[in-house]
Amino acid sequence: MRLPFTRLFRPSACLRGAIEAQRDPLYRLAFAWCHDRALADDLVQETLLRALDRAEQLRETDRLKGWLCSILANALRDHYRRQRGFENIDDLDETVLADQATPEIASESAELAARVRAEVARLPVGQRMVVTLVDLQGFTYAEVSEALSVPIGTVMSRLCRARGALKARLLDAAPDFARTEGSGRKVRIVK
């Protein structure tokens, strides 16, 4: 008996290598999104496995980075959905995850990088994704728009709000900024 099982199995060795080579940049990005090294590692692993599994969907290899970031963003959203039962991406993107507000103690004496990370962690998820894709990955606004499946206008407004908040908290050092600008809903994640 002959069975009609046919399947395109693996991506080429070249594409596999290109996907695997993105592990470190993705890990940096994932950490900037969740500020949890173990979770970042898991998200990146999940992203790479999904990418390898779906490699045939990638039509243009020069869009690999954006495609991987899109998978990573969905992996993080899935993670938060599973934790909190978010049904709407917009709800999630506008949410401040309260327990991530201080991944490191941002005291007066803390090093500047830790303060910056603490402030990035205070941003709503959607803003955090946009600002890190632009600043860490060097994405254009169009690439961010595609990776996160949001309009360019939303990318620009989120980036503006994110940088505005970071600027105020880090450069202007306005202690009451969070109270005046904290428009995102606060949700405590229970791990």
Binding site: P4, V116, R163, L171
Partner: protein
């Protein structure tokens, strides 16, 4: 935009990110020369951007295996060695094991497998992959039934593929139920290691009715191959 128009925050960011066309860029550059406040704001935005960049140095991620080649290639090697030694007992299985070896170690693109005891391995949660696998399984079982031939098919799911057996996320639970109801030769086996990993992450795993568990997908595949089953990866 006129020279005295206020430059919006969005445009300021677009300016420092190099997102503007030459005309818009020149306009804001000109304006910033005359407007010290705008100049300061642009400087602060650039500083903020640099702060973010320096806050996340490129770190080396922990190295983890993305390809199941290592462990599964061992299965392939076992199959080939077993076939050569007559361990599998039936020479008819040799072509299937050779195919398996090609698939797992050389990346074959297309394949066809023959046999009347077949293990279908699912490790992807991709809806299309699962749907295609179920279509094929359904076709083959129907054809075998029509011809009065017994056919056993065991679907083994692990990794992301476990989703197909999870009561809360299974994409086609009714199709699995129909397969079990119509064809007694169908068995469904979930990987316990995957279940354990999910539970460690706080995921509640409830399997569909009739789904059995094996200590691991790998163990189950080895067991079946030694028993003379053919292996197909969905």
């Amino acid at each position: 935009m006129t020279d005295d128009a206020k430059v919006s925050g969005e445009m300021q960011n677009a300016f420092i990110d190099g997102e503007l066309g030459p005309a818009e860029w020149a306009q804001i550059a000109r304006q910033s020369q005359a407007d010290s406040r705008l100049r300061d704001e642009l400087c602060e935005l650039r500083a903020t951007k640099e702060l973010v960049q320096h806050a996340y140095p490129v770190a080396r991620a922990p190295r983890r295996q993305t390809a199941p080649v290592g462990r599964w290639a061992a299965v392939a090697a076992l199959c080939v060695a077993s076939a050569a030694a007559g361990w599998l007992g039936r020479s008819a299985w040799a072509p299937a094991t050779v195919e398996l070896e090609r698939e797992l170690t050389a990346g074959a693109t297309l394949r066809e497998v023959s046999g009347d005891r077949i293990l279908v391995h699912v490790s992807s949660s991709r809806r299309e992959t699962i749907a295609t696998a179920l279509d094929e399984v359904d076709d083959v079982l129907r054809q075998a039934k029509r011809n009065g031939r017994g056919l056993s098919i065991e679907i083994v799911a692990n990794s992301n593929g476990l989703d197909m057996f999870r009561a809360d996320v299974a994409p086609f639970p009714e199709r699995l139920a129909a397969l079990r109801a119509n064809y007694p030769g169908v068995t469904l086996v979930a990987c316990s290691q995957t279940i354990d990993r999910l539970r460690e992450r706080g995921v509640v795993v409830q399997l569909l009715p009739g789904v059995e568990t094996a200590s691991s997908a790998l163990d189950q595949v080895v067991r079946r191959l030694r028993g003379g089953w053919a292996y197909v990866r969905a």
